[in-house]
């Protein structure tokens, strides 16, 4: 399902994180670093996120946005794309459950590092939808 190696590495980590009841999980392996946080903390992290790419690699962290309901994921128009910069807390998509729209938000500014799903795809609880680089 995921050809990309980063996606292949993030998904099991995201699942381990959501199963483990952890509040925060950071994994670093060479250049690769990923961080999961359970509670959205939209206000606290602007300094690192605002920095343009290429500067201080150690500051990179990635938030995985997981589905919190079972349903069909629908992208908003215009649809987000990988690499897109996000200003503020933006609604990226919604998950439709029994006709109810459950908003999926970016939980703060950043850059869309990865889109794991396609428009109209069924998703289960805890499934990674987007990775946001802060």
């Amino acid at each position: 399902m995921f050809e990309d190696t980063i996606a292949e590495r993030v998904r099991p980590l995201a699942q381990a994180f959501s199963n483990g009841g952890l509040a925060r999980l950071r994994v670093r392996d060479g250049e690769f670093e990923v961080e999961f946080r359970r509670a959205p903390a939209p206000v606290a992290a602007p300094a690192a996120a605002a920095r343009p790419g290429g500067e201080a690699a150690a500051a990179r962290s990635i938030d995985a946005i997981l589905a919190d309901v079972v349903g069909i994921v629908r992208f908003l128009r215009p649809a987000v794309s990988e690499g897109m910069a996000l200003e503020g807390d933006r609604e990226l998509a919604y998950v439709e459950t029994l006709g109810i729209r459950n908003a999926v938000r970016s939980r703060g500014p950043g850059r869309v590092a990865m889109i794991y799903v396609t428009d109209g795809q069924p998703v289960e609880y805890g499934q990674p939808l987007f990775a946001i680089e802060r």
């Binding site: 199963n19 309901v69 079972v70 349903g71 459950t97 029994l98 069924p122 609880y125 805890g126």
Partner: protein
């Protein structure tokens, strides 16, 4: 027949339903919580969806996520198993409203049988005896008059009651005044309502239940009875058998007849169980369970009928494939529930990771389980690990076979009920049969001080 069934459950019963579906050529969708990701029911199903985190309210009781899964997967029916949403009339109704079939009776029958007072009234009206009870009793004198009429002992109960508060057993007329005063005061203190009623006290009844199946065309059959009298002090069943041993043939026939009469009276469809208290020749309706029961395999083994497949066929509007005369019991079957519990500590539930897991095999042994070596037993769910079911031509041979099967059973990593069940099987009273529901609590009460 359905194309695809969503199984709204976990553990051994989810696997059991999955097997029935696959034997009928029906595809399956499993649901699971994050705590059950590695469970066998997830691996056996054709598709599986995570519906929430470990706690049941957020996952196995999450109606929106479960129905959403069913719709996404294109399931045309939902099997609820037992527990969780199995007797939730609202869930059955919402399922129907979304164009899916709920594999069980109609929502109105689930609701009627789920309300004890309504169920008792319906049974009474259709001629099925219920425990004799009074209306509200204003004074000890009224209570004494009722007791004289039905005979001592009686149980005084708080009308607002629950949890044993405001309950007093009254053995004779001499005790009535004092018992009435204390029960009423206790009820007033606990529920702000001191009103009492009385019921005939049945000291040592047997718990005997009758399995019924009804199709959508008005046909109802029974599949005999199960004796579930070996119950823990919490009233949870530990050992069940079919047929009920040492039961008078006339009483047996009456139980079967009453069960069918009652099921017809409520226009019952699908599989159901009527629970009775049996006290000598007296039989009293207790309640009706509108689902498949944990102990259904003992009936299956004796009658050679796959009850879960029948549930699915009935829900798919197929007529029953047999008549009452076709259903003949053969031999005996016994089930032992292997729970992750500590019998030496009031059956306290245990959670943890299973080490070595070995189940029995050989002739006449069936094991319904979802666990294997390495299974994590989460703290969120009931403690049932496995059901070991054996058959025998006679009860004695079935007991011998169960002893052998339990000796082959090894589960390490958590405390289980295996050794305790062996102890019960070897007990002379159990072997003599015909025990009441108070037998195991009394046995435990005598056993614990002996160990201390």
């Amino acid at each position: 027949m359905f194309r695809k069934v969503l199984i709204a459950n976990r553990g051994e019963i989810a696997l059991r339903i999955n097997r029935a579906c696959h034997e009928l050529g029906v595809a399956t969708v499993a649901i699971f919580s994050e705590a059950d990701r590695g469970s066998l029911h997830v691996r056996h199903a054709d598709e599986a969806f995570c519906v929430g985190p470990g706690p049941v309210a957020a996952s196995y009781l999450n109606i929106a996520n479960i129905l959403s899964t069913a719709l996404i997967c294109g399931a045309d029916a939902i099997h609820p198993g037992y527990g969780f949403l199995a007797e939730n009339a609202r869930f059955a109704e919402i399922t129907r409203d979304h164009g899916l079939t709920f594999i069980g009776p109609s929502p109105s029958v689930i609701a009627a049988m789920g309300d004890k007072a309504t169920a008792r009234r319906i049974m009474h009206e259709s001629g099925v005896p219920t425990t004799p009870g009074s209306g509200i009793l204003a004074t000890p004198e009224e209570a004494a008059a009722f007791a004289e009429q039905i005979g001592y002992p009686v149980m005084l109960k708080a009308t607002a009651g629950g949890g044993g508060k405001g309950m007093r057993a009254v053995e004779s007329a001499a005790d009535m005044v004092a018992a009435f005063a204390t029960a009423s005061a206790e009820a007033a203190a606990s529920f702000r309502d001191g009103r009492l009623y009385a019921e005939k006290l049945i000291r040592s009844p047997r718990h005997i239940e009758v399995q019924v199946l009804g199709d959508e065309f008005g046909d109802v059959v029974h599949l005999g009875e199960r004796d579930c009298s070996v119950q823990k002090p919490s009233h949870q069943k530990l050992i069940e058998e079919a047929p009920a041993p040492a039961l008078d043939a006339a009483v047996r026939d009456r139980l079967h007849e009453m069960a069918v009469t009652a099921a017809r009276a409520v226009k019952y469809t699908n599989a159901g169980t009527l629970e009775f208290l049996v006290d000598g020749a007296n039989v009293y309706f207790m309640e009706m369970n509108t689902r498949i029961q944990v102990e259904h395999p003992v009936t299956e083994m004796v009658y050679g009928v796959d009850l879960v497949k029948e549930q699915i066929r009935i829900a798919a509007r197929e007529p029953l494939g047999f008549t009452q005369a076709d259903l003949q019991p053969h031999g005996c079957a016994i089930e032992v529930r292997v729970n992750a519990e500590d019998p030496e500590n009031n059956f306290a539930p245990a959670a943890g990771t299973l080490g070595r897991v070995e189940f029995p095999g050989g002739p006449g042994v069936r094991v319904d389980t979802h666990v294997y070596a390495g299974t994590v037993v989460p703290p969120f769910y009931d403690s049932l690990l496995a059901k070991i079911i054996v058959t025998g031509r006679s009860r004695e041979s079935a007991i011998m076979r169960m002893e052998r099967a339990l000796a082959e059973t090894h589960i390490e990593g958590v405390k289980t009920t295996v050794e305790f069940a062996r102890e019960i099987l070897r007990d002379e009273s159990f072997q003599r049969a015909g025990l009441g529901v108070d037998w195991l609590p009394n046995y435990l009460a005598q056993r614990v001080p002996a160990l201390a």
